[in-house]
Assembly symmetry: C2
Homo-oligomer: 282 residues x 2
Amino acid sequence: MFKIGDFSKMGQVSIRTLRHYDELGLLKPAQIDQFTDYRFYTIDQLPRLNRILALKDLGLSLEQIRSVLSEDISAEQLHGMLMLKQAEIEQEVEENQRRLRRVRARLEQIEQEGHVSPYEVVLKQSPAQTVLALHRCVPQLDDMPHYRHTMYEAVYQALEHAGLERAGPELAIYHNGEYTEVEIEMEAALLIQPPATIPASLAPADRIYTLPATALLATVVHHGSLPQVIKAISALYAWIGTNGYVGCGPIREIHLFGSELEGGRHSQVTLEVQVPVEKVAY
Amino acid sequence: MFKIGDFSKMGQVSIRTLRHYDELGLLKPAQIDQFTDYRFYTIDQLPRLNRILALKDLGLSLEQIRSVLSEDISAEQLHGMLMLKQAEIEQEVEENQRRLRRVRARLEQIEQEGHVSPYEVVLKQSPAQTVLALHRCVPQLDDMPHYRHTMYEAVYQALEHAGLERAGPELAIYHNGEYTEVEIEMEAALLIQPPATIPASLAPADRIYTLPATALLATVVHHGSLPQVIKAISALYAWIGTNGYVGCGPIREIHLFGSELEGGRHSQVTLEVQVPVEKVAY
DNA sequence: TTGCTCCTCACGTCACGTGAGGTGGC
DNA sequence: TTGCTCCTCACGTCACGTGAGGTGGC
């Protein structure tokens, strides 16, 4: 018979742990003094303690261990539990490796630029969304402000004209695969409720279509001037590269700030840049 | 200005999370209605929310994130924190991979034997320990009970004779590298207080020496009859093999049950089998 | 009037660690 | 009498999830 202190040393656990296991009914002392409430253990309780510790070491919870020890569990059932645990741990390892990758990408960014990037990339999903869009090719970067303004004016007019119901913010979609300053293929668009029938009264450059649902969307929020959005985009692409993804669709630019038709030249905008991505095979 | 529900959708977090961040001072609403206590957020708070989520994604605690966001932290300091995080995650990955190995070893054991092993292997360290030991070569397995009895008698006599102070249980040490049923090289020993000087009155087969401290000791507790201890030993070696270790020293058998000189032939014993091990290079 | 959204407590999570405050045996 | 070991509460951990109970605006 051992007092709790001696038994705790034999089992390499704390006294509190033994009390805790007593409380849970996992390992009751062989005897309890009825006057002092002292707990007494016997050496042949050591195997049970070791069982508990070993199962805990495999990652089982004390509740699960209790059911394993209660003997109403068969070898197959334990096998099943361990298979599940195995899968869980494998997942955790993978998650940790992804996390490690993100941490390293961050470190690299700090080392290379010497300061902390003001942009945070967030992975999202998005459902399929229907848009009313106006496509134009912008000849040069300088033409952009004027083009954009007239494009959004036109798209709002088309919305009213066709009697469509708006369902979300303005967005812009860029179709050039790479960064360019000439012949920028872009759409000015509005999220709309999917119409029952496509109205006939659309101008030739307008179209209604559905952006596909995307499982993986790398996004970044830009808050500042509109021309500066290029910084957000490059930060986004840097992140995509160093984190083992590749872009696989056109860039979308969601206007979180309201409308591009309001506000002057120096106004601050808040918008979200989105790029559909997929994991690169490695 | 957005109500908490809308803002939570934009940020892909729960309402409770936003309230929690408010409570911690991580992300205070831009405005709070003084009558209804409604929280109101602005879009330009979205980047800050995303920062928080991104840093959390790297594994930082909310407390750490607060200090990062409080701006009194430099790029180097953040770099340092992330280096630390990186090391932590690497460790966690390794720990998980070891755990995975143990789980798989368990699964294998169940698959091969169809039942759950009654033995649990526990890794320990042990400090250096001084023993008074009597070495003999046991000719055959059948001679074992008789030999052991006389050996422990002799070792207790030597203890008294030399006036040494006992410091722990009986133990047996086996020096054959492999399992054998003939010419078993064994010692019967007692843990003793290290004597200031080695007494001259020792019989030639007796010796006092110090078992070295071991950083890694694979141990298993056997509770049952003495001859059955072989099952514990084989379970121990099976574990050692499937978990990527190798034995690197003699087997020790610690008598947790008291003395081998007490108790009859059918008595139950509780003893701990110990083997020093090291990780196998892989 | 009925839903909807928001609010403030406050408990629960998991396996103990860590005091606080008190008691028996050498 | 002083240490030592033991005892029983009970709070704290971390980032929220989940009711309970109640209130304003359409």
